[in-house]
């Protein structure tokens, strides 16, 4: 029973951490209709920023903000490549993903892995670390990551209801409509990519604080993982009109982590993990086609309550 509880807590922890990234990818992939591959490198970017700043003694929450900011800048670069230089969406993402590999190494001063044990992180210091202090370590982490993830979700929900947020959704839906309103849809794409990659870097930052190490290779497979979470969440909960898409995406992330954990528990070797991730996404995509109804646009409405 304890093992099961431990596994459940673990799934929830990771589900919420990667859920933050999935919410970001929801903005780029679903709202903007932009398949953004830079995510694979903005995730470790967040980790690297966290490692360096926390080692230097910067407040861990401040490091989270910094990670979000750096991710957002990377997203802007992807957007600028696409909007200003007219490079296709996929290629813009690939260019930034590749370029960031070097940037991440430079941030870590040439090291591929950088541990920062026994430093102040969001999990053991500050207001939240102390408030949740008398919980066991695992529960403390869970409470803090769940809280952060839900906060990010709520902030994005509010943003999507502002004028700027409505315009962002319009840009993904019908760029011509945004032009008709006298606004540049390219600008909205850049804003969306900034938010998406900011969230991704934030997730990377939080994950590295939990493991107390940053690893430049931690971003492998993030695009697939995030897309799977988004698609699982939004298609499974399509019928549940009372659930917002951002919530659905977090649930998708948790379900996805649960699938992986179950497979591992059933004795699947770690080497097959990436393979399994690809298979799960394929299955989800196929099921999504079969059940979505003939070419109907039946996304979960982002502002549905």
């Amino acid at each position: 029973m304890d093992i099961l509880l431990g596994l459940l807590v673990n799934v929830l922890q990771e589900g919420f951490i990667y859920g933050i990234m999935a919410i970001g990818v929801y903005i780029t992939y679903k709202v903007l209709d932009f398949p953004d591959l830079s995510v694979d490198s903005t995730f470790p970017l967040g980790s690297c920023i966290a490692a360096v700043l926390i080692t230097a003694g910067v407040d861990p929450w401040l490091s989270c903000l910094a990670a979000f900011g750096c991710g957002a800048i990377a997203g802007c670069v992807t957007g600028l490549l696409h909007v200003k230089l007219k490079i296709t969406d996929l290629l813009s993402g690939i260019l930034v993903m590749t370029g960031l590999l070097s940037v991440n190494l430079v941030i870590l001063d040439g090291k591929a892995v950088m541990p920062f044990y026994n430093k102040d992180t969001i999990f053991n210091s500050g207001f939240f670390g102390t408030v949740a202090g008398n919980l066991s370590a695992d529960f403390r982490v869970l409470v803090i990551v769940a809280g952060t993830c839900i906060l990010v979700k709520l902030l994005l929900d509010v943003y999507l209801k502002t004028k700027s947020g409505l315009l962002l959704r319009a840009a993904g839906d019908n760029a011509q409509y945004v032009i008709s309103l006298g606004k540049n849809p390219g600008t909205m794409k850049i804003i969306g990519l900034a938010i998406g990659n900011g969230c991704t870097a934030l997730a990377g930052c939080i994950l590295s604080q939990q493991t107390e190490t940053a690893n430049v290779a931690s971003g492998k497979g993030m695009v697939v993982m995030a897309l799977a979470s988004v698609i699982i969440g939004t298609s499974l909960l399509r019928k549940a009109k009372f659930i917002k898409a951002t919530t659905a995406v977090i649930i998708g992330s948790i379900l996805y982590k649960a699938c992986l954990t179950i497979a591992m528990q059933l004795g699947m070797p770690t080497n097959y993990l990436n393979f399994l991730m690809a298979v799960i996404l394929t299955v989800v995509l196929v099921f999504n086609k079969v059940f979505a109804g003939r070419g109907k646009n039946s996304n979960v409405n982002p502002t549905q309550i």
Partner: protein, 269 residues
């Protein structure tokens, strides 16, 4: 008339002067569409444009909206030279309804969200709440004018509306904030006869109420004769017929078909 200085009348409220436009220059399929094309529209005039396929009607609208750059010449609306502005800045003073009903609205957003966006045209689109609840009665009253029952469907995504309903909504949306020029590109072409009659009636009413200057392209000769104060027929990048006032009133569908036949004889088909 000829002694009058041009810029101090409203006769050139919308002016396209000496427009030259060649597509695919220096290639095998080069199309020299406009050579010194001129068009002037006085304030408040409703112009209907007809013409053969490929005569350049849509291109004129695209040039006015900034979607197609010109090689040389000038385009001005209400005294502003606009030919060098980026496309989205044209929309600040030009409203447009497209032939394709899915272009004029956002299908996944609700009617309310679409209207709220349009209502904010010309503002900064910052972090204020997107939908102003106090404006909802106004949106409702506007939708009631369409007589399509849309006022009770505010929270429905536009994708669930019919083409005719969408086109009526698009018309409403494009004229919600003050504009200098309304551009209609075969905006009833995708609709069944009944809906297209409705949308034309609606167009007439909105144009009359808001005293808009309008450029409407249509392939429907009946509409071209029935609506508007001036009729222009285009052929191969030039104007072959331009009738306003009495002359326009006297025009019959028969005259236009004859003119069309004349043109196609020239073309040898």
């Amino acid at each position: 008339m000829s002694t009058q200085h041009k810029s101090d009348t409203m006769a050139d409220y919308v002016a396209m002067r000496r427009i030259c436009k060649t597509f695919n220059r220096d290639s095998l399929n080069e199309i020299r569409l406009f050579q010194n094309f001129n068009l002037e529209i006085p304030k408040g005039q409703f112009v209907a444009v007809i013409g053969s396929n490929g005569s350049g009607k849509t291109t004129i609208l695209n040039i006015l909206c900034g979607s197609v750059p010109i090689d040389s010449g000038s385009v001005s609306v209400n005294g502003k030279e606009i030919s060098r502005l980026p496309e989205h800045q044209h929309s600040e003073f030009i409203g447009r309804v497209f032939q394709d009903p899915s272009k004029g609205t956002c299908p996944q957003l609700t009617i309310l969200e679409n209207m709220a966006l349009a209502d904010n045209k010309g503002t900064r689109f910052g972090l204020h709440f997107g939908i102003n609840r106090k404006r909802i009665p106004y949106y409702r009253s506007q939708l009631e004018l369409l007589k399509l029952g849309l006022e009770d469907k505010l929270n429905l995504p536009v994708s669930s509306l019919s083409g005719g309903q969408r086109q009526a909504l698009a018309l409403l949306i494009s004229t919600m904030t003050p504009i200098d020029l309304l551009i209609l590109d075969e905006h009833t072409a995708a609709l069944d006869p009944r809906s297209s009659e409705n949308v034309m009636e609606l167009t007439q009413r909105i144009v009359g109420e808001k005293k808009l200057t309008v450029l409407m392209v249509t392939h429907n000769l009946k509409y071209a004769i029935r609506y508007g104060d001036r009729l222009i027929m285009m052929h191969r990048g030039g104007i072959v017929l331009d009738a306003a006032g009495e002359e326009k009133v006297a025009l019959q569908t028969k005259d236009l078909t004859e003119k069309f036949n004349e043109i196609s004889l020239e073309d040898g088909n």
